[in-house]
């Protein structure tokens, strides 16, 4: 039996025995075949001694059982690592950050506690997946949409806690931005409710997010300070219609103004769907991987030779038909002065979706979960060599034309120098309002030599990005320390304050040790090594 670091076999066996009493023997796992299912299947450390592995797993059915397990762990200083659906592939899956931790598997807590049609909100447990919620909404005839990320098997709670993103309207597609109300079991086993949930009898938990005093929701984002057992979300009332349009411009020099205009229109609420900036001329070979942006003269020559646009801004509108058609007209008018501009009206779809529409649309744009994303990792385009998984590199870059060009060139140049494969590369993803996040998908193999090279390369890329002022918004466990190191203002004051909070709220350091670079006091020097 594997034991948590620093524990005797006898003490650990005693702790697991107590956990069996709390949740039932069937829901405590410590045998190799079961623990194998708690590995990070896309780990960049797969099969190596440093791979982050669980010593056991416990799957409680309700908040009372979570409280008991946390108290048992706290009394014995057993490190525990909560997961929701554990499907966060590419960002750690169901494995802990600290090897030897006991995974607290919350998948069985899968109750949809409320969907409030008039308030356009819901309250769910962490085991509820996007598929579960979508099914519930369909079965009840709800008028509400969820916003889902690409893989629909993820948890609403877990994805929001990790700051995941989707594709519908502003205010919903940044999943943390749509959170309203959190319940968390703290390290001492007590239950905290944030916002209006702290007021007994309140009916406004999923209405007014802040409550009174410091807004404590942030304590639980990408953190190691509690076990979130309930979470409220704002939900998007199904709009009457959906419209897309894109605008092609044909000069390298147009990008800066194109982005400035996109920003002004979005921040002025002239459109509410997810925008995009791409380059048809630089995506000829692979539509999901923009090549390096060449010098202005060369790019303009490519545009002339191919007739393809240098840049394409895409817009999405949700709302009544006459409103969104008027918005699209306004957006076109604002771009009419670009030399040679072309307007492309895309899909217009009235809602709810028909069966025929369902077969032709990009489901996440309509809050419909799927697993189609895995097509890329398993097959992909052209002569793609299927990988064993992937990780994401995702850095926040300036939301400007200059930001796109510089980030594209630095990433393309450095990845080529390092021999780092990318099977998707998009420099300006806009799931999160007011941000561009550069996304690169890196294939992972179950091959230690390839993965060692991958790790060394990614660490170098993290450093290079930090030198340019670009930090990742989220990352796999193997790189959490490196990414947190990049957020170094004030002699790493961010991390040091996080550590002070950690010490105050979790003095025994039992919860999610090492998550996003914050370690408990007794592991801090070695960073869990």
């Amino acid at each position: 039996m594997t034991t948590p670091p620093g524990m005797t076999d006898a003490d650990f066996a005693d702790g697991l025995g107590a956990m069996r009493s709390a949740v039932g023997a069937d829901w405590v796992f410590d045998q190799p075949a079961d623990l194998n299912t708690y590995r990070d299947f896309y780990s960049v450390l797969w099969g190596e001694p440093e791979e982050k592995r669980a010593s056991a797993a416990v799957a409680p059915a309700n908040v009372e059982e979570v409280q008991q397990v946390v108290r048992i762990a706290n009394e014995r200083q057993i490190p525990i690592y909560p997961i929701s659906t554990g499907r966060n592939l590419g960002y750690g899956g169901s494995a802990p950050v600290l090897s030897g931790s006991v995974v607290l598997d919350l998948k069985r807590m899968n109750r949809i506690l409320e969907v409030n049609e008039s308030n356009c909100s819901c309250l769910v447990e962490p085991g509820v997946s996007y598929f579960d919620m979508y099914r519930h909404l369909q079965e009840t005839g709800s008028k509400l949409w969820i916003d889902c990320p690409d893989p629909g098997w993820g948890s609403l709670v877990g994805n929001a806690l990790d700051s995941g993103g989707g594709y519908t309207a502003a205010g919903y597609r940044g999943h943390w931005e749509a959170v309203c109300g959190i319940e968390s079991v703290m390290a001492d086993g007590e239950v905290l409710r944030t916002g209006m949930g702290a007021l007994p009898g309140s009916e406004t938990w999923q209405q007014y997010r802040m409550g009174l005093g410091p807004c404590l929701d942030g304590l639980f984002r990408q953190s190691s300070l509690g076990v979130v057992t309930k979470m409220g979300f704002y939900m998007f009332p199904q709009p009457e219609a959906y419209l897309t349009g894109s605008i092609d411009v044909f000069r390298y020099e147009d990008l800066e103004e194109l982005v400035d205009l996109l920003n002004e229109l979005e921040y002025g609420n002239l459109f509410n769907g997810m925008p995009g900036i791409g380059s048809p001329v630089l995506s000829q070979d692979n539509p999901i991987a923009m090549t390096m942006i060449p010098p202005a003269d060369e790019m303009n020559r490519m545009v002339q030779e191919t007739g393809l646009a240098a840049w394409r801004a895409s817009f999405t509108f949700y709302g009544p038909e006459k409103v969104i058609r008027a918005q699209w007209e306004h957006v076109k008018e604002r771009h009419a002065h670009f030399q040679g501009v072309k307007f492309n009206e895309g899909d217009f779809i009235t809602l709810p979706l028909s069966a025929e529409d369902m077969e032709r649309i990009a489901k996440p744009r309509f809050g419909v979960p799927s697993l189609e994303i895995f097509f890329v990792g398993s097959r992909g385009f052209g002569n793609f060599n299927p990988s064993d998984g992937h990780i994401w590199f995702s850095a926040v870059i300036p939301r400007s034309g200059k930001g796109i060009i510089e980030a594209n060139r630095v990433m393309r140049r450095e990845c080529e120098r390092l021999g780092l494969d990318l099977f998707m590369f998009a420099p300006a993803v806009t799931c999160w309002t007011r941000s561009f996040v550069l996304f690169a998908a890196v294939p992972v193999y179950k091959d230690p030599a390839k993965n060692q090279h991958l790790r060394e390369s990614v660490r170098e890329i993290i450093d290079i990005c930090a030198q340019h002022g670009w930090g990742e918004y989220r990352c796999p466990p193997a790189f959490m320390d490196d990414v947190m190191d990049a957020y170094s203002f004030g002699d790493h004051k961010l991390r040091r304050v996080n550590e002070q909070i950690k010490d105050a709220l979790d003095p025994n350091g039992i919860l999610s040790a090492g998550r996003y670079g914050v370690w408990p006091k007794h592991l801090r020097d070695g960073r869990g090594a």
Partner: protein, 131 residues
């Protein structure tokens, strides 16, 4: 994050670009016996391993497409047409994972549910064998 669907739009390119290279035989309508494993399959397996079309009208159910490519016509890519996946075999694949598919935990799928899926797949394969 999206790839074939939403990021096409984020990248500013046609959502159908490149689809032609991915053409495969699409199995659309099959007979599905009404048994407990059907619901489990539909909820847990079909989003990757089902039949029919993917999100944007192209044949992009990832598990079905990957198995089609792997077997090259020797076996069906769609699991509901497979007659060689009895419960003991299915348990190993589901628990261990394969390719890009990670293993499933008991908290997600119980052994009993995997057995129900195996029974359903066997029944579906028999019902659609055409013999």
């Amino acid at each position: 994050m999206s790839m074939r669907t939403s990021l096409f739009i984020a990248l500013g390119v046609s959502a159908l670009a490149g689809s032609a290279a991915l053409a495969q035989t699409v199995v659309r309508d099959i007979e599905r016996p009404d048994m407990p494993g059907r619901v489990v399959f539909e909820q847990q397996c079909a989003p990757c391993h089902g039949t029919g079309l993917g999100d944007d009208g192209s044949p992009t159910l990832p598990g079905t497409a990957a198995l089609d490519a792997k077997y090259g016509g020797d076996r069906p890519g769609a699991l509901e047409l497979r007659s060689d996946l009895p419960a003991p075999v299915l348990r190993v694949i589901v628990r261990r994972g394969s390719g890009a598919m990670s293993g499933f935990r008991k908290g997600e799928l119980t052994d009993e549910q995997i057995d129900q899926i195996a029974e359903y797949i066997a029944a579906t394969a028999a019902a659609n064998s055409g013999g």
